[in-house]
Symmetry: C2
Subunit: 196 residues, 2 copies
């Protein structure tokens, strides 16, 4: 039977969920799919390209249109969607953080966030930098949040360090940081308004 690209991706995500990013090798993936490694390279020229495609699968639809009406709610909705997607699979945040640099990820979340900032009134260049800032915050935050949850599940954290007993809860902590960035964008819009 023909090995399809989607089969490779499904198999890779299954290994990710069960064993984690450190155990996701081309050899192991080939074994789990009962094919020779060469069959994988027909679909993905190297592991980095495969990781980019997995990142795109995890991020599917995070860059869809937002339902919120005003720009700051739109920014929040996009950031929450991104966080939810990163946390939905084991090591998802680390995988996307590590892959993002390669520019192999085709998801357009950065452009979507920048577009919200442009419509809010920022210049294009500023909007792209603001989008990077939000992305870096979400990636840094979710890598730490997910690593701590996973360490806690493995019994590697003391009870006082457990995210389960954290106050405020992780979602509220995430919201706090988002609010700082949204207020920073608003301050920049205010400067613009005073100058024009």
């Amino acid at each position: 039977m023909q090995l399809r690209r989607a089969d490779v991706l499904d198999g890779a995500i299954a290994i990710l969920d069960e064993y984690g990013l450190g155990d996701l090798t081309m050899r192991r993936l080939a074994t789990s799919l009962h094919v020779q490694p060469g069959a994988l390279y027909w679909h993905f020229k190297d592991k980095q390209t495969l990781l980019g495609a997995i990142a795109d699968t995890l991020l599917a639809d995070v860059d869809a249109m937002t339902n919120a009406g005003v720009w700051d709610d739109q920014l929040r909705e996009l950031a929450h969607r991104l966080r939810d997607a990163l946390l939905s699979h084991r090591d998802g945040a680390e995988l996307v953080a590590a892959t993002y640099a390669s520019r192999l990820v085709t998801n357009r979340i950065r452009e979507r966030i920048a577009a919200v900032c442009i419509r809010a009134g920022l210049r294009r260049g500023e909007s792209e930098l603001a989008a990077d800032t939000v992305l870096y915050y979400v990636l840094g935050q979710t890598v730490d949040e997910q690593a701590r949850m996973q360490m806690d599940s493995a019994g590697a954290l003391t009870e006082s360090a457990s995210p389960l007993f954290e106050s405020p809860d992780p979602t509220s902590r995430f919201d706090f940081g988002l609010t700082l960035f949204v207020d920073g964008v608003r301050a920049r819009l205010g400067d613009r308004a005073r100058l024009s």
Copy 2:
């Protein structure tokens, strides 16, 4: 000759600089130091503990007092110091990002940033969340910046994706995000002033 803790750390950082985080194993480290692996475990009970100690070595003095006079310049100085430290060794940002979750890092940069926010006028709880936000932004940004620099050195990026041809340059991009954050803190102080 007695193997000292500092020798183990120096050896680990030498492997990091030459081969990267992926090649830093206890076995390889023992070989490079001409000792049995057991000699390492006398100083560090597991690899995670060693990574925490390496992170502390990379971060040495980033949590020292700042020279700047006003709180926003102090915040910028701390964030820049942290970025410089993370970029000073190969895979430094990734190592600290991965280790931070374990809470094995004893460096007090988080407390130093929170203290600046407290003196600026934020409540203690808000100040700790604000410190987390800055840390997550700096970690997310430097992991991406360093990964791209290293991929570019390895010839894995096209010229248009090279950070060397990026405009504005990486330090200016970093500053833009910091400004959004500082303005967000300032907005929160403004709300406080109006309420009191």
